[in-house]
């Protein structure tokens, strides 16, 4: 997106989430059109109308279920117009304790955070490589940087997603397709309401939106929404395993 006046269509996978909507609003404010994809898109009509009215752009809704692998080809083919920028914010935290006991719950978390987002972004990458242009943004997580006792089912799936994006970027780097990995850190959303999160490490959804826009405009590869998270994770990943395994982070 070197030409700032060129307006693209941005597809948000996970368009219902606060982070997804915040990213959409930031791109809408720049004059880009949006497609919001969600499992139950009709209920997003007020958001659709609001974003379209505030920014005088087109916003479309479309049905998408990240766990429905069969439908993915059809979903990608049916999108009109084809999006120049595809952002996936899909994820599912789950309950770590439940994920430890219940393989069905754990499978849901693994598929929602890794398998589904990786497969759909991979399909979009195929099209973009053929067109020699396009941008893929995967919202992964700092939890994927190192497995921890408190959320390793979720974290391992995010680690898989991060590795997938890294490989995809490597493959696409010389083919005109940009791949961005975004690691938000803590975000103040309804999901984290009531949690005792450190203010300096917690971003508002709008900050995630701004970070994604900046990363896309500047052609960045991997971004932490709050730069301090880069430092925090460098320290956490540097701790030798024999000490790390005894910590309670």
């Amino acid at each position: 997106m070197t030409d700032a006046t060129r307006k693209s269509t941005v597809l948000i996978l996970g368009g219902r989430s606060e982070i997804g909507l915040a990213i959409g609003r930031v791109f809408a404010a720049e004059g880009h059109n949006l497609i919001l994809a969600a499992r139950d898109p009709e209920s997003l009509e007020p958001e659709r109308a609001d974003i379209a009215l505030r920014h005088d752009i087109e916003v479309k809704l479309t049905q998408f279920d990240v766990l429905d692998t069969e439908s993915m080809h059809g979903f990608v083919e049916a999108l009109d117009p084809a999006p120049e920028i595809v952002v996936s914010v899909i994820g599912l935290m789950g309950e770590q304790a439940e994920n430890e006991r219940d393989p069905i719950a754990a499978t849901q978390v693994m598929r929602s955070n890794y398998e589904g987002p990786a497969l759909i972004l991979g399909l979009f990458a195929e099209r973009m490589v053929a067109a020699k242009k396009g941008t893929i943004v995967g919202v992964s997580s700092v939890a994927g940087d190192r497995g921890r006792a408190s959320n390793y089912v979720y974290g391992s799936a995010k680690a898989g997603f991060t590795a997938f994006l890294s490989g995809l970027r490597n493959r696409c780097a010389r083919l005109g397709v940009q791949v961005v990995t975004v690691k938000p850190g803590f975000v103040a959303t309804r999901m984290t309401e009531g949690m005792d999160l450190p203010a300096a490490l917690t971003a508002a959804p709008e900050e995630v939106g701004q970070a994604v826009l900046r990363a896309v405009e500047r052609g960045r590869d991997v971004v932490y929404v709050r730069p301090v998270w880069g430092l925090v994770m460098r320290i956490i990943t540097a701790i030798p395993e024999r000490f790390f395994k005894r910590t309670d982070l």
């Binding site: 007020p46 609001d50 009215l53 505030r54 005088d56």
Partner: protein
């Protein structure tokens, strides 16, 4: 929606928008419903200029979204930070009341959550009683959820302003009457001037500028607004910062500046309508104790005598009012809205014991001259004064009791004023 229903079920609640009322209008008797997240714009019809939006939408966001497309609110109060729900509940007025009426005149319909938690759509043709009582009803008839308001087509983001100095009150009123056709008019009064200069004021008239009148630098983009940086008042000023002498000095300077400035100028919408919004936290100049505002509307017959008496009492008390505004009101019939034909005077004072005593005197003068009080600005009026000044207060109270609204919806203000 379920959460809103549950909140209404608590009883003694009031909806709160963006918190721009000056007193306790939007503080619930038992609980307060924060409407700020119900803030989506839902539909716009460019054929009629009708915008449908949720009540928590901020007026400034409407301007940001629609001015670039050639639309502006028909009526705007002195701050763009009000919510649509708040603007309807207080039936706010602007500098164009004498020609266009109040905010409510441009509301096509509202959706109101009643005491039973059900949503009723009300307009001039259906559920007209609910519509009439809710516009200007200070949230006491239910929670305004959505509204359809109409916007005005404009050709630019600019206002053609003309400033006319008036050496005394009679001259100011004459100027208002003579320019009755002007779209916008408002007067700043030097309320420390007394004797023959009582009511000395600068009257500012305004018209939406046409495309051809836009400053040449903006001719290509007539809806663009020049950037201005928001200033902030970072700390509360000490209480002594505003006293008779500083206010007197400010007023004298402002008056002289008004005399020497060019009478005609082009001003962008933001500077014209919202000069105070440019200074975030402007209220802090009054110090930690804050400020109180007195605002009443006087009928045409007793306007001059009433204004004379109010300004005389203010000047005699030596109480500097930093911001004193006079405005002509046009005809308005309403269930409980503030505006009525005549003049409205607004005076800001630092909140002190001396001010409270002065406000009681001003109340008495106002009642003697048939005045009405603006509840969106009120924080301390006595129930007896309100009910004596406005027979509609009794009717509202009885209506609320009969309709079972008095248990469901109540603010600190409605309890204080026995509404």
């Amino acid at each position: 929606m379920a959460a809103l229903r549950a909140a209404v079920g608590l009883g003694g609640v009031i909806a709160r928008g963006n918190g721009r009322a000056y007193g306790d209008s939007a503080m619930g008797a038992a609980a307060t419903i924060d409407m700020r997240r119900l803030n989506r714009m839902l539909a716009f019809d460019p054929a009629t200029g009708q915008l449908v939006a949720e009540a928590g939408v901020i007026l400034g966001d409407v301007i940001t979204a629609f001015l670039p497309r050639g639309w502006f609110p028909y009526v705007t109060p002195g701050t763009k930070f009000v919510s649509l729900g708040g603007a309807i509940a207080a039936d706010v007025h602007g500098k164009n009341h004498h020609v266009d009426g109040s905010f409510g005149a441009f509301v096509d319909w509202i959706d109101v959550v009643g005491a039973d938690g059900e949503v009723t759509r009300a307009s001039r043709s259906s559920n007209s009683e609910l519509f009439g009582w809710t516009i200007g009803g200070m949230g006491l008839t239910g929670v305004i959820l959505r509204a359809a308001i109409r916007l005005r087509p404009v050709e630019s983001a600019w206002i053609r302003q003309e400033t006319i100095p008036a050496p005394h009150l009679a001259a100011a009123m004459e100027a208002f009457e003579a320019a009755d056709a002007a779209t916008y008019s408002v007067a700043w009064i030097d309320c420390l001037a007394s004797g023959g200069s009582l009511g000395r004021s600068l009257i500012m008239f305004g018209e939406h500028a046409e495309t051809g009148e836009v400053p040449s630098a903006f001719r290509k983009h007539p809806f663009a607004t020049p950037k201005r940086r928001a200033k902030t008042v970072p700390v509360n000023l000490p209480g002594a910062a505003l006293n008779t002498w500083t206010v007197k000095a400010f007023n004298a300077l402002y008056w002289r500046k008004g005399l020497s400035s060019p009478r005609k100028s082009l001003v962008d919408w933001d500077r014209y309508f919202y000069p105070l919004d440019a200074i975030l936290g402007w209220n802090r100049i009054y110090g930690r104790r804050g400020f109180l505002q007195f605002q009443c509307a006087l009928p045409p017959k007793s306007s001059e005598a009433g204004l004379r008496a109010l300004l005389g009492a203010t000047a005699a008390a030596g109480q500097g009012s930093f911001l004193a505004v006079l405005k002509r009101f046009g005809i308005q019939e309403s269930r409980f809205s503030f505006p009525m034909e005549g003049y409205t005077l607004a005076l800001d004072f630092p909140a002190t014991a001396k001010t409270l005593a002065l406000l009681d005197r001003l109340d008495a003068i106002a009642v003697d001259h048939g005045a009405r009080f603006y509840l969106a600005k009120d924080a301390r009026l006595a129930a007896t004064t309100l009910h004596r000044s406005d027979p509609r207060a009794d009717i509202l109270r009885d209506m609320r009791r009969e309709a079972g609204l008095d248990q469901a919806f109540a603010s600190a203000q409605s309890e204080r004023l026995l509404l």
